[in-house]
Structure formats: structure tokens, C-alpha cells
């Protein structure tokens, strides 16, 4: 026992331990800095990110193929095909619903991705693929293989043909980190397409873990109802009219002055792989 204590003491006096303690101090410094200064991306992080993006892209692609092969092997192929067919059907129904809104308001902002591009020549996209997801993250945040070299900047919206997925919050030369719409740190200004009632997304952990998004600060007199489509309100970095999701519930907020609700995002933020980063759009173009 006494010998063991001596050995431990010897370890704490060794050069190896001092080197390790120095490394620990160096690692802790940026953590403390980030805690006080907000998010910072350091030079070593940028270098590592550039080095590992191609590898992670390759593994991400392979993992997808393997996952699909395993699903097919266990009889999931038919279910997957059926699921895809249903998804297409749902997408067509949604298109019809929003088309009615659009006609009524002479507002043609809703289209599937290709149509969206045709109707919005000012939208410029960078094609990207999800290459990494941190399993410890409960909001589905991810990293894409497109960065500042592809024109991506902080705040760019990330979308799929189904709708808005999230926004870019950290950019590296060949990759970028994306916060999904379910993350409480990325509130978005939105409105209900049918009534044009304005609100703001205010995700909570409880709803996010079920894949739902909370919408708050809707006018108390708003005539919104279940099934209404929620779209982005528009800002300097995000155009108006990007699909967000469908209202699933509406209830009076605890303050009694406004309405809140839950929205099911159209895009499956936890499963999405291929995305588009909207790198530019004409801010003067109004819907």
C-alpha cells in the first residue's frame, strides 16, 4: 500500500505528468475564453476540420449505403419504398394546400426545391452533404461538407426540398456547422401562411426531443388552427417564405396575452443527409 502511494507520488513528479498537465492547461484556456467571449473557432480547429472533412465525407457516404443495405436485408426495403411513396404523396398534398394560399394572396413563394429555384432566380445555393453529427447533441445539429470556400457564411439558411432545416453558425474553409430549427439557440421569425400572423420559434428541450418546434408570441386574436403552414418571416440572412412546418397544436400562452403552438418541421432534421445552403438571395425582392 505504502509502495503504491510512493509510485503515485513518483508519477505526479514525472516529466510525463508535467507535459500532460501543461497540455491540459492549454486545452482549458480556450474553453474558458469561449465561456466568456461566446463561440470562437480556433486556428487548430480550422486546420483539423480541413484535414478531416474529406475523410468524414467518405465515411458518411459509406455509412449511408451500409445503413440502407442493412435495412433492405432485414425486409425494410419494401417499407422504405412505401414510405417514400407516402412522403411524395404528402409533399404533393402540401403543395396543393399552399398553392391555395398562394393564389388567394397572389403569393407564389411555395415550390418544391427545383420550382423554388425557377421562381426565385435570385436564390443562390451551395449543394452540401451532412458529414457528421455529434451523438451527444440532442437537437440534431450537424456539420456539412461545404464551407467558406463554397461561399457559405454565418447565418445562411440550410434547406431541403421539404423545408428549412437550420442555419449555419460556424464556418470553416471546407465545412460548416449547422444549428437545426429544433435548437433553442436559433430562434427564427415566422408567420402562418394562411392568416399571416407573425410569431417566433422558441424551441424547448421537451418538444425538440419529440421532433417538434414551439412557436410563441402569436397574437391572441390570431385565427390560426391545426394544419396551418408556417413559413419564415424573412430577415437579412433568410428570405421570406421558406417552409418551416405544420402547426400541430395551438394553445393560450401562460402569460394570457398571446398564443403558442407546436410545429412539426417538414424536414426530418434528425435524418437529413443531402441539403442546400442558401448562400445568397436578393433582399429587395419581396414576395
Amino acid at each position: 500500500m505504502y509502495g503504491g502511494i510512493l509510485l503515485v507520488k513518483e508519477f505526479f513528479k514525472s516529466r510525463g505528468f508535467y507535459a500532460l498537465a501543461t497540455a491540459a492547461g492549454l486545452l482549458l484556456a480556450p474553453v474558458l475564453y469561449a465561456a466568456f467571449a461566446g463561440g470562437v473557432s480556433l486556428f487548430p480547429q480550422k486546420v483539423l476540420s480541413v484535414a478531416f472533412t474529406p475523410l468524414q465525407t467518405a465515411v458518411g457516404g459509406t455509412a449511408k449505403e451500409v445503413g440502407e443495405a442493412v435495412t433492405s436485408l432485414f425486409g425494410g426495403g419494401a417499407l422504405r419504398r412505401e414510405n417514400e411513396a407516402l412522403r411524395e404523396e404528402i409533399a404533393a398534398l402540401r403543395a396543393g394546400q399552399v398553392e391555395l394560399d398562394s393564389l388567394r394572396r397572389q403569393n407564389e413563394w411555395y415550390h418544391e426545391f427545383l420550382e423554388l429555384k425557377a421562381h426565385h432566380p435570385d436564390y443562390r445555393f451551395a449543394q452540401a452533404r451532412v458529414i457528421a453529427r455529434d451523438p451527444a447533441d440532442g437537437f440534431g445539429n450537424f456539420t456539412v461538407n461545404c464551407g467558406s470556400a463554397g461561399g457559405v457564411t454565418k447565418g445562411n439558411p440550410v434547406i431541403t426540398a421539404d423545408g428549412l432545416v437550420g442555419t449555419v453558425y460556424e464556418v470553416f474553409p471546407t465545412s460548416a456547422k449547422v444549428r437545426t430549427v429544433l435548437d433553442p439557440q436559433s430562434p427564427i421569425s415566422v408567420y402562418v401562411s394562411r392568416t399571416r400572423d407573425h410569431g417566433i420559434t422558441a424551441p424547448t428541450a421537451a418538444f425538440s426531443s419529440e421532433g417538434l418546434l414551439r412557436i410563441a408570441r402569436l397574437e391572441r386574436t390570431a385565427k390560426v388552427r391545426r394544419g396551418d403552414v408556417v413559413v419564415t418571416f424573412g430577415s437579412a440572412s433568410c428570405p421570406e417564405g421558406l417552409l418551416v412546418g405544420e402547426l400541430t397544436t395551438v394553445y393560450a400562452a401562460s402569460d394570457g396575452l398571446s398564443l403558442s403552438g407546436t410545429v412539426r418541421p417538414f424536414a426530418d432534421v434528425f435524418q437529413v443527409i443531402d441539403v442546400m445552403v442558401m448562400v445568397d438571395f436578393d433582399q429587395t425582392a419581396k414576395e
Binding site: A24, L27, A34, L48, V59, A132, P135, D137, A205, A206
Partner: protein, 170 residues
């Protein structure tokens, strides 16, 4: 106490670090078990520390944590510091407290996983999201910990085979 490590040892564990990192962060690399995905770097760091000692474990932990930092929504260096401490502690525990076997690996992995999950939760959730923090721990943190434990023995077995092969080479 100190011994010179051949370059082959560093390279081998370095390659393992990259492989585990690539697989841990692959978007569809793992199916969810009880709603959680495994934090493979934790059993990896613990297992390597059990075969290389506190210094080797600390350095491998730091390398794994730096990899983690590229993709995590936490300050760069946070996971590196955490895994460095875990690697060092696991190496010391193996050297002075526990035998080097599967049961000890499971025990150390359980403790290390809980430390990482709680630290992640405290940093990411409690500081930025006071409301509903418990829900996130229950629905993400603890399932991840449970899934990680499932992988602790296979990872330990892989590292034991690697250590044996390296010893034979020496």
C-alpha cells in the same frame, strides 16, 4: 515508470483514434439503441489507458477530444480536456487500483461515460438551456450512456488485441 514508446505504438493508436472518430460522427453510422448513440471515444480512451498507462491514455484522450471538438457544439478543447483527464485517471486506476480485465474496463467505462455525459449536459444544457434540461438528460444523455456501455467490452477487446500485437512486435 517511464518507458520509451516505439513510433509504431503511437501510429497504431493514432489510426484507431481516427477510425473511431470517423465512425462515431458518421451521420448514419449507428442505429439508435434506447434512443441513444454511442460515444465511442470514451471506451476507446479508457481501454487505451488501461494498456498504455496514465501518460499514454492522457495523450490519446486529448487527441480523441480534439477530434470530437471539430464537430461538437461546445468550445474547442472542452472534450479534449475531459478525455485527457479520463485517460490519465483510467491509466492510474488500472495501475494502482484495478486489474486489467473486462470487468474493470466495464466499471471504468461506466464511470467515464457518466462523467462525460454529465459534463456535456452541464455545459451545453444547463448554461444555455435552463428550462427542460432534465428532459434532455433523460432522452439523450442517459440513452447515449447506456448505448456506450454496450460497446465498452468490444472496444476493450479490440484494444487488448492491439496491445498484444504491439507487445509481440516489441
Amino acid at each position: 515508470m517511464r518507458r520509451q514508446r516505439p513510433a509504431a505504438e503511437f501510429i497504431t493508436y493514432g489510426v484507431w483514434t481516427v477510425l473511431f472518430g470517423l465512425w462515431q460522427f458518421a451521420p448514419r453510422g449507428w442505429g439508435a439503441l434506447w434512443g441513444g448513440r454511442p460515444l465511442l471515444f470514451v471506451p476507446f480512451t479508457v481501454s487505451v489507458a488501461m494498456f498504455t498507462g496514465p501518460i499514454g491514455g492522457g495523450w490519446i484522450g486529448a487527441a480523441a477530444g480534439l477530434f470530437w471538438g471539430i464537430y461538437a457544439d461546445a468550445p474547442f478543447g472542452f472534450h479534449a480536456f475531459l478525455l485527457l483527464a479520463i485517460g490519465c485517471a483510467a491509466g492510474l486506476a488500472e495501475r494502482f487500483l484495478l486489474r486489467n480485465n473486462g470487468m474493470a474496463a466495464l466499471l471504468l467505462c461506466a464511470v467515464a461515460t457518466l462523467v462525460v455525459v454529465m459534463a456535456d449536459w452541464l455545459w451545453g444544457t444547463l448554461f444555455y438551456l435552463p428550462q427542460g434540461a432534465g428532459v434532455l438528460l433523460r432522452r439523450t444523455g442517459l440513452p447515449n450512456a447506456a448505448h456506450t456501455l454496450v460497446w465498452s467490452w468490444p472496444v476493450y477487446a479490440m484494444m487488448r488485441a492491439t496491445a498484444k500485437r504491439l507487445a509481440k512486435r516489441r
